[in-house]
Amino acid sequence: MDFAFTPEEEAFRKEVREFVDREFPPKWREHALDFFSNAGGPYDEQWSLHRAMAKKLGAKGWLSLAWPKEYGGRNSMLLQHILAEELSYYRFPGLDPFGVGMLAPMLLKSGNEEQKKRHLPGIAKGETMWCEFLSERDAGSDLASLQTRAVEDGDYFVINGQKCWTTAAHRADWGFIIARTDPEAVPNYRGLSFFLLDMKTPGISIIPIANMAGESEFNEVFFDNVRVPKENLVGGKNRGWFVVMGVLDFERSCIPAYGIARRNLDDALEYARKTKPIASALRNRLAELIVECEITRLVHYRAIWMLDKGLIPNYEAAMTKVYGLEVNQRVTATVCQVLGHYGVLTEGSKWAPLDGQAPSRYLRSIGNTLEAGSSEVDRIVIAQRGLGLPR
C-alpha cells in the first residue's frame, strides 16, 4: 500500500490552491460559496460567478482531468478528485458535479462517438451546465417504478410526465433524463431509456422548491410533449437502467465529502481554539470527527484508486457517499453545538459567528442522507453487492 501522493499530484494540489487564492473575488470570499448555494442562492450574480469560474477551470484543462488522453484529458480520476476536494474545501464555485462528475464519465463509458463529440467539449470548457432528471414524486429509492413516459414518434421520442428534486434545473443548459419507453416490461427496470435533453426544448416548465435551509436549488419539472431527437438516446432503447446504474456509481464517488466536512469541522475547531475551554464531551466529539473525516478521506481515495485502475467501485462508491455525508451531517450538528447559543443565529445577524452560515449548513445537511440515493439505499447496496446478502 502507498498513501503518498506523487510529486506531480502534490504540485497539482498546490496549483489548485494558488488558483483559488488568486481567482476568488474578495467580495465573495467571505460568503464562502459552494456549488449548491450558487445554484440555489437567490442571486443571479452567484450563478454568474459559478459560470465564470467554470470557464476558468475549463481553460486550465481541469474539467476533463479524468478523461482519456484522446478526449483531451489526463486520464486521472485522482487529479479530478484532488481538484474537487480542494474546491469543496475552499467552497470555490465552478465545478458542475452533474456534467463533470457524472455525465462525462457516463458518456465516455456508454455514449456513442457522436454524443461524445457533441457534448464533451462543452463540459470540458465549462460552458455547458447539466442537471439530472431521475427522481419523481413517487419514485426515488424505488427509481425503476418511475412513470414519466417517452414515446417514439418518427425521429423523436416525446416525453410527458414530471420529475422532482432536480438540482439546478432552473439554471442548467442541458439535462439527462430517464423515462419509461416500455410500460409492459417485466421487470419494470427493463422498460426505461436514458436521454440527453436540451433545456431550451419547448414544453419544459420548472417550479422551484425551497428546502428547509431556505435554498431553492431543486425544482419540480413538468414535461409536456417534449420532443427529444433519437440521436440523444444513450445506451439503447429500454437499456436506460444500466446507464443510470453507472451514473449513480459515478455520482456517489464524485461527491467530495471530505472537503465539505473537513472545512466545516475546521471552522468549528478554529472557533473552539479561540473560545477555550470547551466542554470535555464536546472536545471528545470534535476529536472523533477528526478521525471520521480522515476515514472519509481514505474510503474515498480507495474508490478513486479503483476507478483509475479501470475498476468500477460499486459498494465502495456507496460507502464513500453514505459514510462521508453522514459524517458531514454529524459535523454540521457539532459545529452548531460548539457555537452554543450563537449556533441559532443566521446570516445577517450582527452577533452571528462564522458569518451565520453554521445553522444553514446544519439544516442543509438533512438532505445529505437523502440525495444521490438515501442512506438506506446505500446500505442495501453495501449489504447486497458488497457482502452478497440475498435480496
Binding site: M1, A287, V291, A383, G388, P390
Partner: protein
C-alpha cells in the same frame, strides 16, 4: 496511492491464513485459555520455522528483514485466528524495542535467538495506575556499585510468566517532568526479587503482575541511554498500538464473515434473515466500520514503515479500532441470536478479545484526548 497489498504480502496473508487454519483451531484457542503456559511449544517452534518470529528482524541478525507493514499483514491474520501465545509480546514488544534501541552487541546476542524461537521477551511497562503515559512509570531503579536495583510493581504485563527477559521501564531520575528520567532495563526473568503472578482475565490471555523487589540489574543491561527511555517507548508504543489495531481489524473481519454466513443460512418467516433490511443495515454498518478501521490502520502502519511521523494516525487508528471492533462484535451477537451467546460458540472468543484489546495501549478516550490536544483544543 495504492490500496492493494504487494504480491509478497498477498502470499504472506494466504500462507498465514492457511497455516493458522491448520495449526490454530478454535479448540486449541479454548484449551490455551485454561492452560498455564498458554501456548503449545510445538506451535512456537513452527512459527519460528516459517520465519515469522524473525519477520522484521534484519537478515544480519538472523531474520527475514521484512517491513513493519508486512508484520501488520501477518498480525491481522493472527487476530482473525485468535492465536494464543507470546507472539505479540516477544516479536512486537520485545523485538521492536531491541531493534529501536539495542546496541549492536545486544542485537547480536538476542535477535537471532528470538528468530529461532529460543528466546521469549516482554515489555514491563504499565503499573497499577494502568496508564500508558510517562507519568504512569513510578517503578524506581537506583544505582548501586555499577548496578541498578529495581523496586516497584508492574501490572498487565503480557506473558511475563514465560518470558526469558523482561524489558522494564523504570524511573532513574526525578526531574518533575514525567518524560525525563525513564530508563529501559533488560532484566533476566530469573533474577532474585522478581515475583510473577498470572492475572485472571476475560480472555484467558496471560497477563501478569510482576513485582520487582530490589532486583539487581547490571549496568550493561540498559537498553539505549540512561534516562532517555521514554522517547524510545513512544516509538515502540506507536508500533505496538498499530500492531494491536491490526489484530483487531483481523478479528473484526472474521466476525463479519461469520455473521454474513449465518445471515445467509438462518431462515425465519420463510426467508434467510440476511434478506431483511434490519440485518442488511447492520451488516453494512459493520463493513463501514471495518473498512474505516482497516484503512486508518494501514495508513498508520504505512507511515511507520516509511519512517514518517505517525503520532496522529496511530491515535486515530486505535481510537477507532477500540470502539468499532466492540461494536462489530456486539452487532454480530445481535444477528446470531441466542446461539452466539453460548460459551462454546466462536463468537464470544472475539467479543472478549474486542474488550481486551480495546484497553491495550490506551482506549478510545485516551487516544481521542491526544487527537484533541494535537488539534489545539
Amino acid at each position: 496511492m495504492d490500496f492493494s497489498l504487494t504480491e509478497e504480502q498477498e502470499m504472506l496473508r494466504k500462507a498465514a491464513r492457511d497455516f493458522l487454519a491448520t495449526e490454530c483451531p478454535k479448540k486449541l484457542v479454548r484449551e490455551m485459555a485454561k492452560d498455564e503456559r498458554g501456548y503449545p511449544l510445538e506451535l512456537w517452534q513452527k512459527l519460528s520455522e516459517v520465519g515469522w518470529l524473525g519477520l522484521i528482524i534484519p537478515e544480519e541478525y538472523g531474520g527475514s528483514g521484512a517491513s513493519f507493514f508486512d508484520l501488520v499483514v501477518l498480525l491481522e491474520e493472527m487476530g482473525r485466528a485468535c492465536l494464543p501465545g507470546p507472539f505479540f509480546s516477544t516479536v512486537v514488544l520485545g523485538g521492536v524495542t531491541i531493534l529501536e534501541t539495542g546496541s549492536d552487541e545486544q542485537k547480536q546476542e538476542l535477535l537471532p535467538k528470538l528468530a529461532q524461537g529460543k528466546l521469549l521477551l516482554t515489555l514491563a511497562l504499565t503499573e497499577p495506575s494502568a496508564r500508558y503515559s510517562a507519568d504512569g512509570i513510578q517503578t524506581k531503579a537506583v544505582q548501586e556499585n555499577g548496578s541498578f536495583l529495581i523496586q516497584g510493581t508492574k501490572l498487565f504485563v503480557p506473558d511475563a510468566h514465560v518470558s526469558d527477559y523482561l524489558i522494564c521501564a523504570a524511573r532513574t531520575k526525578e526531574t518533575g517532568i514525567p518524560e525525563e528520567g525513564v530508563t529501559l532495563f533488560l532484566v533476566d526473568a530469573k533474577s532474585p526479587g522478581i515475583n510473577c503472578t498470572l492475572l485472571e482475565t476475560v480472555v484467558g490471555d496471560k497477563q501478569c503482575e510482576v513485582t520487582f523487589d530490589n532486583v539487581k540489574v547490571p549496568r550493561q543491561n540498559i537498553l539505549g541511554k540512561l534516562n532517555e527511555g521514554w522517547s524510545v517507548l513512544e516509538k515502540v508504543l506507536e508500533k505496538a498500538t498499530v500492531a494491536q489495531c491490526a489484530e483487531m481489524v483481523g478479528g473484526a473481519k472474521q466476525v463479519l464473515e461469520m455473521t454474513v454466513d449465518y445471515a445467509k443460512q438462518r431462515v425465519v418467516f420463510g426467508h434467510p434473515i440476511g434478506s431483511f433490511e434490519a440485518i442488511q443495515f447492520n451488516c453494512a454498518d459493520m463493513l463501514i466500520d471495518i473498512d474505516g478501521c482497516s484503512f486508518i490502520t494501514y495508513e498508520a502502519a504505512w507511515r511507520l514503515s516509511e519512517g514518517l511521523p505517525a503520532t496522529q494516525e496511530v491515535a486515530m487508528a486505535k481510537a477507532w479500532a477500540s470502539e468499532k471492533f466492540r461494536r462489530v462484535a456486539t452487532i454480530s451477537h445481535q444477528i446470531h441470536g441466542a446461539i452466539g451467546f453460548c460459551e462454546d460458540h466462536d463468537l464470544p472468543l472475539y467479543f472478549k478479545r474486542a474488550k481486551t484489546w480495546e484497553v491495550n495501549f490506551g482506549d478510545a478516550n485516551f487516544h481521542l484526548d491526544k487527537i484533541a490536544t494535537m488539534a489545539g483544543i
